[in-house]
Symmetry: C2
Subunit: 234 residues, 2 copies
Protein backbone atom coordinates (compact mmCIF):
# COMPACT_ATOMS: atom_id res chain seq x y z
CA UNK A 1 0.00 0.00 0.00
CA UNK A 2 1.35 3.39 -0.95
CA UNK A 3 1.67 6.12 1.64
CA UNK A 4 3.71 9.30 1.97
CA UNK A 5 6.81 7.35 3.00
CA UNK A 6 6.93 5.73 -0.45
CA UNK A 7 5.53 2.64 -2.10
CA UNK A 8 8.49 0.49 -1.07
CA UNK A 9 7.92 1.08 2.61
CA UNK A 10 6.69 -2.01 4.45
CA UNK A 11 2.94 -1.99 5.18
CA UNK A 12 1.70 -1.24 8.68
CA UNK A 13 0.31 -3.96 10.93
CA UNK A 14 -1.52 -3.30 14.19
CA UNK A 15 -0.42 -5.81 16.84
CA UNK A 16 -2.36 -6.32 20.08
CA UNK A 17 0.43 -6.40 22.65
CA UNK A 18 -0.69 -7.30 26.16
CA UNK A 19 2.90 -7.71 27.27
CA UNK A 20 2.57 -11.49 27.57
CA UNK A 21 4.58 -14.14 25.80
CA UNK A 22 2.14 -14.91 23.01
CA UNK A 23 1.65 -11.30 21.97
CA UNK A 24 5.41 -10.70 22.10
CA UNK A 25 6.07 -13.62 19.73
CA UNK A 26 3.20 -12.40 17.53
CA UNK A 27 4.86 -8.98 17.29
CA UNK A 28 8.10 -10.68 16.23
CA UNK A 29 6.21 -12.57 13.50
CA UNK A 30 4.48 -9.39 12.28
CA UNK A 31 7.77 -7.45 12.32
CA UNK A 32 9.18 -9.74 9.63
CA UNK A 33 7.27 -7.87 6.94
CA UNK A 34 5.47 -4.95 8.56
CA UNK A 35 6.07 -1.68 10.34
CA UNK A 36 4.63 -2.21 13.80
CA UNK A 37 1.70 -0.31 15.27
CA UNK A 38 1.59 -1.68 18.82
CA UNK A 39 -1.62 -1.46 20.80
CA UNK A 40 -2.08 -2.01 24.53
CA UNK A 41 -5.12 -1.79 26.79
CA UNK A 42 -5.32 -1.17 30.50
CA UNK A 43 -8.72 -2.39 31.67
CA UNK A 44 -8.41 -2.57 35.42
CA UNK A 45 -6.85 -6.04 35.37
CA UNK A 46 -4.94 -6.96 38.54
CA UNK A 47 -1.48 -6.65 37.03
CA UNK A 48 -2.32 -3.61 34.89
CA UNK A 49 0.74 -1.48 35.64
CA UNK A 50 3.15 -4.40 35.26
CA UNK A 51 1.64 -5.36 31.88
CA UNK A 52 1.86 -1.76 30.68
CA UNK A 53 5.56 -1.72 31.60
CA UNK A 54 6.09 -4.93 29.62
CA UNK A 55 4.31 -3.33 26.65
CA UNK A 56 6.55 -0.26 26.79
CA UNK A 57 9.75 -2.29 27.07
CA UNK A 58 8.77 -4.60 24.22
CA UNK A 59 7.73 -1.62 22.05
CA UNK A 60 11.12 -0.01 22.70
CA UNK A 61 12.87 -3.29 21.81
CA UNK A 62 11.09 -3.39 18.42
CA UNK A 63 11.52 0.37 17.81
CA UNK A 64 7.81 0.38 16.89
CA UNK A 65 7.01 3.55 14.90
CA UNK A 66 3.35 3.60 16.03
CA UNK A 67 2.23 2.99 19.63
CA UNK A 68 -1.14 3.40 21.31
CA UNK A 69 -2.04 2.63 24.92
CA UNK A 70 -5.73 2.97 25.74
CA UNK A 71 -7.78 2.82 28.93
CA UNK A 72 -10.81 0.56 29.06
CA UNK A 73 -11.35 0.68 32.80
CA UNK A 74 -15.08 0.21 32.34
CA UNK A 75 -14.32 -3.51 31.89
CA UNK A 76 -13.42 -3.73 35.57
CA UNK A 77 -16.54 -1.76 36.53
CA UNK A 78 -18.61 -4.31 34.61
CA UNK A 79 -16.71 -7.06 36.42
CA UNK A 80 -17.69 -10.71 36.18
CA UNK A 81 -14.09 -11.92 36.15
CA UNK A 82 -11.39 -12.77 38.66
CA UNK A 83 -8.99 -10.72 36.51
CA UNK A 84 -10.86 -7.48 37.11
CA UNK A 85 -12.95 -8.03 40.24
CA UNK A 86 -10.95 -8.11 43.49
CA UNK A 87 -13.80 -9.99 45.21
CA UNK A 88 -13.30 -13.04 42.95
CA UNK A 89 -10.09 -14.92 43.78
CA UNK A 90 -7.66 -15.97 41.05
CA UNK A 91 -7.62 -19.76 41.47
CA UNK A 92 -4.66 -22.09 41.49
CA UNK A 93 -4.04 -23.62 38.09
CA UNK A 94 -6.43 -26.32 36.90
CA UNK A 95 -5.10 -27.16 33.46
CA UNK A 96 -7.25 -30.30 33.19
CA UNK A 97 -10.47 -28.28 33.62
CA UNK A 98 -9.34 -25.86 30.91
CA UNK A 99 -8.63 -28.70 28.53
CA UNK A 100 -12.15 -30.07 28.89
CA UNK A 101 -13.91 -26.89 27.88
CA UNK A 102 -14.68 -25.44 31.30
CA UNK A 103 -14.64 -21.63 31.16
CA UNK A 104 -12.55 -20.41 34.12
CA UNK A 105 -13.36 -17.47 36.43
CA UNK A 106 -10.55 -15.50 34.81
CA UNK A 107 -12.73 -15.23 31.65
CA UNK A 108 -13.47 -11.52 31.05
CA UNK A 109 -16.83 -11.32 29.26
CA UNK A 110 -16.35 -10.59 25.54
CA UNK A 111 -12.94 -9.06 26.27
CA UNK A 112 -11.16 -9.48 22.96
CA UNK A 113 -13.93 -7.62 21.10
CA UNK A 114 -12.99 -4.49 23.05
CA UNK A 115 -9.35 -4.76 22.03
CA UNK A 116 -10.12 -5.68 18.43
CA UNK A 117 -12.57 -2.79 18.06
CA UNK A 118 -9.83 -0.33 19.04
CA UNK A 119 -7.46 -2.09 16.65
CA UNK A 120 -9.92 -1.80 13.75
CA UNK A 121 -10.66 1.89 14.38
CA UNK A 122 -6.95 2.66 14.62
CA UNK A 123 -6.08 0.50 11.59
CA UNK A 124 -8.67 2.29 9.47
CA UNK A 125 -7.24 5.70 10.42
CA UNK A 126 -3.53 4.86 9.98
CA UNK A 127 -4.06 2.67 6.92
CA UNK A 128 -3.07 -0.72 8.36
CA UNK A 129 -4.49 -3.71 6.55
CA UNK A 130 -3.69 -6.34 9.12
CA UNK A 131 -4.36 -6.79 12.80
CA UNK A 132 -2.24 -9.39 14.58
CA UNK A 133 -3.44 -11.04 17.77
CA UNK A 134 -1.62 -13.69 19.79
CA UNK A 135 -4.68 -15.83 20.49
CA UNK A 136 -4.00 -19.52 21.05
CA UNK A 137 -6.80 -22.07 20.96
CA UNK A 138 -5.20 -25.28 22.17
CA UNK A 139 -3.35 -24.98 25.47
CA UNK A 140 -5.23 -21.75 26.26
CA UNK A 141 -7.55 -21.41 29.24
CA UNK A 142 -10.71 -22.33 27.29
CA UNK A 143 -11.78 -18.75 26.48
CA UNK A 144 -14.40 -18.66 23.71
CA UNK A 145 -12.78 -15.61 22.08
CA UNK A 146 -9.54 -17.49 21.41
CA UNK A 147 -11.00 -19.84 18.79
CA UNK A 148 -10.69 -19.60 14.99
CA UNK A 149 -14.48 -19.34 14.50
CA UNK A 150 -14.49 -16.21 16.63
CA UNK A 151 -11.95 -14.53 14.33
CA UNK A 152 -13.83 -15.64 11.22
CA UNK A 153 -16.98 -14.00 12.61
CA UNK A 154 -15.12 -10.86 13.65
CA UNK A 155 -13.50 -10.54 10.21
CA UNK A 156 -16.96 -10.62 8.66
CA UNK A 157 -18.12 -7.93 11.11
CA UNK A 158 -15.15 -5.78 10.04
CA UNK A 159 -15.90 -6.35 6.36
CA UNK A 160 -19.44 -4.98 6.69
CA UNK A 161 -18.67 -2.41 9.42
CA UNK A 162 -16.03 -0.12 7.89
CA UNK A 163 -15.79 2.10 4.80
CA UNK A 164 -16.37 0.06 1.62
CA UNK A 165 -12.83 0.77 0.38
CA UNK A 166 -11.17 -0.33 3.65
CA UNK A 167 -9.65 -3.83 3.82
CA UNK A 168 -8.62 -5.05 7.26
CA UNK A 169 -8.09 -8.66 8.30
CA UNK A 170 -7.36 -10.15 11.67
CA UNK A 171 -4.48 -12.55 11.64
CA UNK A 172 -3.82 -14.97 14.52
CA UNK A 173 -0.56 -16.67 13.52
CA UNK A 174 -0.23 -18.70 16.74
CA UNK A 175 -3.80 -19.92 16.99
CA UNK A 176 -3.07 -23.54 16.09
CA UNK A 177 0.27 -23.74 17.89
CA UNK A 178 1.02 -25.18 21.32
CA UNK A 179 2.77 -22.96 23.84
CA UNK A 180 6.05 -24.93 23.60
CA UNK A 181 6.18 -24.29 19.84
CA UNK A 182 5.41 -20.62 20.44
CA UNK A 183 8.45 -20.41 22.71
CA UNK A 184 10.64 -22.16 20.12
CA UNK A 185 9.36 -19.76 17.45
CA UNK A 186 10.00 -16.78 19.71
CA UNK A 187 13.55 -17.91 20.49
CA UNK A 188 14.25 -18.46 16.78
CA UNK A 189 12.96 -14.95 15.90
CA UNK A 190 14.87 -13.33 18.76
CA UNK A 191 11.70 -12.16 20.51
CA UNK A 192 12.46 -10.53 23.91
CA UNK A 193 10.78 -13.16 26.11
CA UNK A 194 12.70 -11.80 29.10
CA UNK A 195 10.61 -8.60 28.88
CA UNK A 196 7.23 -10.36 28.91
CA UNK A 197 4.78 -10.67 31.81
CA UNK A 198 2.28 -13.52 32.13
CA UNK A 199 1.27 -13.74 35.80
CA UNK A 200 -2.40 -13.00 36.59
CA UNK A 201 -1.83 -12.41 40.28
CA UNK A 202 1.34 -10.59 41.10
CA UNK A 203 3.17 -7.52 39.75
CA UNK A 204 6.64 -7.89 41.27
CA UNK A 205 7.70 -11.54 41.07
CA UNK A 206 5.51 -13.97 39.07
CA UNK A 207 3.54 -16.27 41.41
CA UNK A 208 4.22 -19.46 39.44
CA UNK A 209 0.89 -20.98 40.52
CA UNK A 210 -1.95 -19.21 38.65
CA UNK A 211 -3.28 -20.67 35.36
CA UNK A 212 -1.20 -18.33 33.28
CA UNK A 213 2.08 -19.01 35.13
CA UNK A 214 1.39 -22.76 35.12
CA UNK A 215 0.81 -22.80 31.34
CA UNK A 216 3.95 -20.77 30.76
CA UNK A 217 6.18 -22.87 33.00
CA UNK A 218 4.92 -26.12 31.51
CA UNK A 219 5.57 -24.77 28.01
CA UNK A 220 9.14 -23.67 28.74
CA UNK A 221 9.81 -27.10 30.26
CA UNK A 222 8.39 -28.83 27.16
CA UNK A 223 10.40 -26.58 24.85
CA UNK A 224 13.57 -27.39 26.80
CA UNK A 225 14.34 -23.69 27.17
CA UNK A 226 14.92 -21.93 30.51
CA UNK A 227 12.27 -19.31 31.35
CA UNK A 228 14.24 -16.05 31.62
CA UNK A 229 12.02 -14.54 34.35
CA UNK A 230 12.13 -15.36 38.10
CA UNK A 231 9.24 -16.98 40.01
CA UNK A 232 8.10 -16.87 43.60
CA UNK A 233 7.28 -20.57 43.50
CA UNK A 234 7.63 -22.82 40.48
Amino acid sequence: MADDRGVWEKPIAVVLLSGGMDSCVTAAVAALDHRLALLHSSYGQRTEAREKRAFEEIAAFFHAPFRLAVEQQYLSRIGGSALTDPSIAVPQADLEAARFGHIPVTYVPFRNAHFLSVAVSWAEVIGARRIYIGAVEQDSSGYPDCRPEYYRAFNETIRVGVRPETRIDICAPLIHMCKADIIRRGVKLGAPLDLTWSCYKSSDVACGTCDSCALRLRAFAEAGVPDPIPYLKA
Copy 2:
Protein backbone atom coordinates in the same frame (compact mmCIF):
# COMPACT_ATOMS: atom_id res chain seq x y z
CA MET B 1 -35.25 -15.85 32.79
CA ALA B 2 -35.25 -16.47 36.51
CA ASP B 3 -33.29 -14.20 38.80
CA ASP B 4 -33.49 -13.30 42.47
CA ARG B 5 -36.41 -10.94 41.86
CA GLY B 6 -38.60 -13.85 40.83
CA VAL B 7 -39.49 -15.66 37.61
CA TRP B 8 -42.35 -13.27 36.79
CA GLU B 9 -40.13 -10.22 36.72
CA LYS B 10 -39.67 -8.76 33.24
CA PRO B 11 -36.37 -9.72 31.60
CA ILE B 12 -33.56 -7.17 31.41
CA ALA B 13 -32.64 -5.47 28.13
CA VAL B 14 -29.51 -3.38 27.61
CA VAL B 15 -30.33 -0.27 25.55
CA LEU B 16 -27.63 1.86 23.94
CA LEU B 17 -28.77 5.37 24.78
CA SER B 18 -26.78 8.14 23.15
CA GLY B 19 -29.33 10.72 24.18
CA GLY B 20 -30.55 11.23 20.62
CA MET B 21 -34.06 10.76 19.29
CA ASP B 22 -33.63 7.27 17.82
CA SER B 23 -32.14 5.77 20.97
CA CYS B 24 -34.83 7.43 23.11
CA VAL B 25 -37.62 5.87 21.03
CA THR B 26 -35.74 2.55 21.12
CA ALA B 27 -35.70 2.72 24.92
CA ALA B 28 -39.46 3.32 24.88
CA VAL B 29 -39.92 0.24 22.65
CA ALA B 30 -37.71 -1.91 24.90
CA ALA B 31 -39.49 -0.65 28.04
CA LEU B 32 -42.75 -2.24 26.86
CA ASP B 33 -41.57 -5.67 27.99
CA HIS B 34 -38.19 -5.29 29.69
CA ARG B 35 -36.53 -3.76 32.69
CA LEU B 36 -34.12 -1.21 31.24
CA ALA B 37 -30.33 -1.33 31.55
CA LEU B 38 -29.33 1.95 29.91
CA LEU B 39 -25.81 2.33 28.54
CA HIS B 40 -24.10 5.55 27.47
CA SER B 41 -20.62 6.24 26.13
CA SER B 42 -18.60 9.44 26.22
CA TYR B 43 -15.95 9.17 23.54
CA GLY B 44 -14.65 12.68 23.12
CA GLN B 45 -17.39 13.67 20.68
CA ARG B 46 -17.95 17.42 20.36
CA THR B 47 -21.23 17.50 22.26
CA GLU B 48 -20.17 14.91 24.84
CA ALA B 49 -21.38 16.69 27.98
CA ARG B 50 -24.72 17.65 26.43
CA GLU B 51 -25.37 14.08 25.28
CA LYS B 52 -24.51 12.74 28.73
CA ARG B 53 -27.04 15.14 30.26
CA ALA B 54 -29.69 13.92 27.81
CA PHE B 55 -28.84 10.32 28.80
CA GLU B 56 -29.26 11.11 32.48
CA GLU B 57 -32.55 12.93 32.00
CA ILE B 58 -33.98 10.18 29.81
CA ALA B 59 -32.79 7.48 32.26
CA ALA B 60 -34.54 9.36 35.08
CA PHE B 61 -37.71 9.63 32.98
CA PHE B 62 -37.79 5.84 32.48
CA HIS B 63 -36.77 5.09 36.10
CA ALA B 64 -34.21 2.67 34.62
CA PRO B 65 -33.08 0.23 37.32
CA PHE B 66 -29.66 -0.33 35.70
CA ARG B 67 -27.49 2.48 34.30
CA LEU B 68 -23.91 2.50 33.06
CA ALA B 69 -21.99 5.45 31.61
CA VAL B 70 -18.55 4.56 30.25
CA GLU B 71 -15.64 6.57 28.92
CA GLN B 72 -14.11 5.61 25.58
CA GLN B 73 -12.04 8.74 25.06
CA TYR B 74 -9.47 6.78 23.08
CA LEU B 75 -11.84 7.08 20.12
CA SER B 76 -11.09 10.79 19.93
CA ARG B 77 -7.34 10.10 20.26
CA ILE B 78 -7.61 7.75 17.30
CA GLY B 79 -9.52 10.47 15.45
CA GLY B 80 -10.40 10.19 11.78
CA SER B 81 -13.81 11.84 12.24
CA ALA B 82 -15.25 15.33 12.36
CA LEU B 83 -17.20 14.23 15.44
CA THR B 84 -14.07 13.65 17.51
CA ASP B 85 -11.30 15.63 15.79
CA PRO B 86 -11.54 19.42 16.23
CA SER B 87 -9.33 19.92 13.14
CA ILE B 88 -12.01 18.41 10.87
CA ALA B 89 -15.01 20.72 10.44
CA VAL B 90 -18.58 19.41 10.82
CA PRO B 91 -20.05 20.19 7.40
CA GLN B 92 -23.41 21.68 6.56
CA ALA B 93 -26.01 19.04 5.80
CA ASP B 94 -25.74 17.22 2.46
CA LEU B 95 -28.63 14.77 2.64
CA GLU B 96 -28.38 13.91 -1.07
CA ALA B 97 -24.76 12.73 -0.70
CA ALA B 98 -25.77 10.55 2.25
CA ARG B 99 -28.59 9.00 0.26
CA PHE B 100 -26.20 7.96 -2.52
CA GLY B 101 -23.87 5.99 -0.32
CA HIS B 102 -21.19 8.60 0.32
CA ILE B 103 -19.67 8.13 3.79
CA PRO B 104 -19.56 11.54 5.51
CA VAL B 105 -16.65 12.96 7.53
CA THR B 106 -18.74 12.51 10.67
CA TYR B 107 -18.23 8.73 10.32
CA VAL B 108 -16.33 7.49 13.41
CA PRO B 109 -14.32 4.42 12.32
CA PHE B 110 -16.00 1.21 13.57
CA ARG B 111 -17.74 3.17 16.32
CA ASN B 112 -20.75 1.00 17.05
CA ALA B 113 -18.53 -2.04 17.70
CA HIS B 114 -17.11 -0.20 20.73
CA PHE B 115 -20.56 0.46 22.15
CA LEU B 116 -21.88 -3.01 21.36
CA SER B 117 -18.85 -4.68 22.95
CA VAL B 118 -19.56 -2.87 26.22
CA ALA B 119 -23.22 -3.83 25.90
CA VAL B 120 -22.37 -7.52 25.41
CA SER B 121 -19.94 -7.64 28.35
CA TRP B 122 -22.47 -5.92 30.59
CA ALA B 123 -25.37 -8.04 29.33
CA GLU B 124 -23.45 -11.24 30.06
CA VAL B 125 -22.72 -10.11 33.63
CA ILE B 126 -26.23 -8.83 34.52
CA GLY B 127 -28.05 -11.60 32.63
CA ALA B 128 -29.66 -9.53 29.86
CA ARG B 129 -30.61 -11.47 26.74
CA ARG B 130 -31.26 -8.57 24.46
CA ILE B 131 -29.33 -5.49 23.41
CA TYR B 132 -31.38 -2.72 21.80
CA ILE B 133 -29.77 -0.20 19.47
CA GLY B 134 -31.48 2.66 17.66
CA ALA B 135 -29.68 2.18 14.35
CA VAL B 136 -31.57 3.35 11.25
CA GLU B 137 -30.47 2.32 7.79
CA GLN B 138 -32.59 4.41 5.46
CA ASP B 139 -32.56 8.13 6.17
CA SER B 140 -29.32 7.72 8.19
CA SER B 141 -26.06 9.38 7.22
CA GLY B 142 -24.76 6.38 5.24
CA TYR B 143 -22.74 4.85 8.08
CA PRO B 144 -21.78 1.23 7.35
CA ASP B 145 -22.46 0.14 10.93
CA CYS B 146 -26.13 1.12 10.69
CA ARG B 147 -27.08 -1.64 8.24
CA PRO B 148 -28.85 -4.96 8.97
CA GLU B 149 -25.92 -7.03 7.62
CA TYR B 150 -23.67 -5.42 10.22
CA TYR B 151 -25.95 -6.58 13.05
CA ARG B 152 -26.27 -10.07 11.57
CA ALA B 153 -22.46 -10.34 11.56
CA PHE B 154 -22.16 -8.92 15.07
CA ASN B 155 -24.78 -11.35 16.39
CA GLU B 156 -22.71 -14.22 15.00
CA THR B 157 -19.60 -12.79 16.69
CA ILE B 158 -21.49 -12.70 19.99
CA ARG B 159 -22.73 -16.27 19.52
CA VAL B 160 -19.17 -17.61 19.22
CA GLY B 161 -17.52 -15.10 21.57
CA VAL B 162 -19.30 -15.57 24.91
CA ARG B 163 -19.87 -18.46 27.33
CA PRO B 164 -21.62 -21.36 25.57
CA GLU B 165 -24.68 -21.03 27.84
CA THR B 166 -25.07 -17.27 27.22
CA ARG B 167 -27.72 -16.12 24.73
CA ILE B 168 -27.57 -12.47 23.71
CA ASP B 169 -29.10 -10.94 20.59
CA ILE B 170 -28.87 -7.45 19.22
CA CYS B 171 -32.22 -6.01 18.29
CA ALA B 172 -32.54 -2.89 16.11
CA PRO B 173 -36.29 -2.23 16.08
CA LEU B 174 -36.06 1.02 14.07
CA ILE B 175 -33.63 -0.17 11.42
CA HIS B 176 -36.15 -0.31 8.57
CA MET B 177 -38.13 2.77 9.63
CA CYS B 178 -37.87 6.31 8.32
CA LYS B 179 -37.24 9.11 10.80
CA ALA B 180 -40.78 10.49 10.47
CA ASP B 181 -42.22 7.10 11.48
CA ILE B 182 -39.78 6.95 14.38
CA ILE B 183 -41.14 10.26 15.63
CA ARG B 184 -44.73 9.04 15.26
CA ARG B 185 -43.83 5.87 17.15
CA GLY B 186 -42.09 7.89 19.86
CA VAL B 187 -45.07 10.21 20.28
CA LYS B 188 -47.45 7.22 20.47
CA LEU B 189 -45.30 5.54 23.14
CA GLY B 190 -44.91 8.77 25.12
CA ALA B 191 -41.13 8.86 24.65
CA PRO B 192 -39.59 12.07 26.10
CA LEU B 193 -38.44 13.59 22.78
CA ASP B 194 -38.11 16.97 24.51
CA LEU B 195 -35.18 15.53 26.53
CA THR B 196 -33.21 14.29 23.49
CA TRP B 197 -30.17 15.90 21.86
CA SER B 198 -29.25 15.41 18.21
CA CYS B 199 -26.97 18.30 17.19
CA TYR B 200 -23.41 17.37 16.18
CA LYS B 201 -22.02 20.87 16.58
CA SER B 202 -23.43 22.77 19.49
CA SER B 203 -24.15 22.05 23.16
CA ASP B 204 -26.42 24.93 24.17
CA VAL B 205 -28.91 25.54 21.36
CA ALA B 206 -29.06 23.06 18.47
CA CYS B 207 -27.48 24.54 15.31
CA GLY B 208 -30.23 23.41 12.93
CA THR B 209 -27.77 23.08 10.03
CA CYS B 210 -25.53 20.02 10.61
CA ASP B 211 -26.51 16.64 9.05
CA SER B 212 -28.05 15.44 12.27
CA CYS B 213 -30.16 18.56 12.88
CA ALA B 214 -31.22 18.63 9.22
CA LEU B 215 -32.40 15.00 9.32
CA ARG B 216 -34.28 15.60 12.54
CA LEU B 217 -35.99 18.78 11.39
CA ARG B 218 -37.03 17.23 8.08
CA ALA B 219 -38.45 14.23 9.94
CA PHE B 220 -40.52 16.30 12.37
CA ALA B 221 -41.86 18.30 9.43
CA GLU B 222 -42.79 15.08 7.58
CA ALA B 223 -44.42 13.64 10.69
CA GLY B 224 -46.45 16.81 11.11
CA VAL B 225 -45.34 17.11 14.73
CA PRO B 226 -43.62 20.18 16.22
CA ASP B 227 -40.01 19.54 17.35
CA PRO B 228 -40.10 20.30 21.10
CA ILE B 229 -36.50 21.65 21.23
CA PRO B 230 -35.34 25.15 20.14
CA TYR B 231 -32.91 25.80 17.25
CA LEU B 232 -30.42 28.54 16.47
CA LYS B 233 -31.40 28.45 12.80
CA ALA B 234 -33.94 26.14 11.22
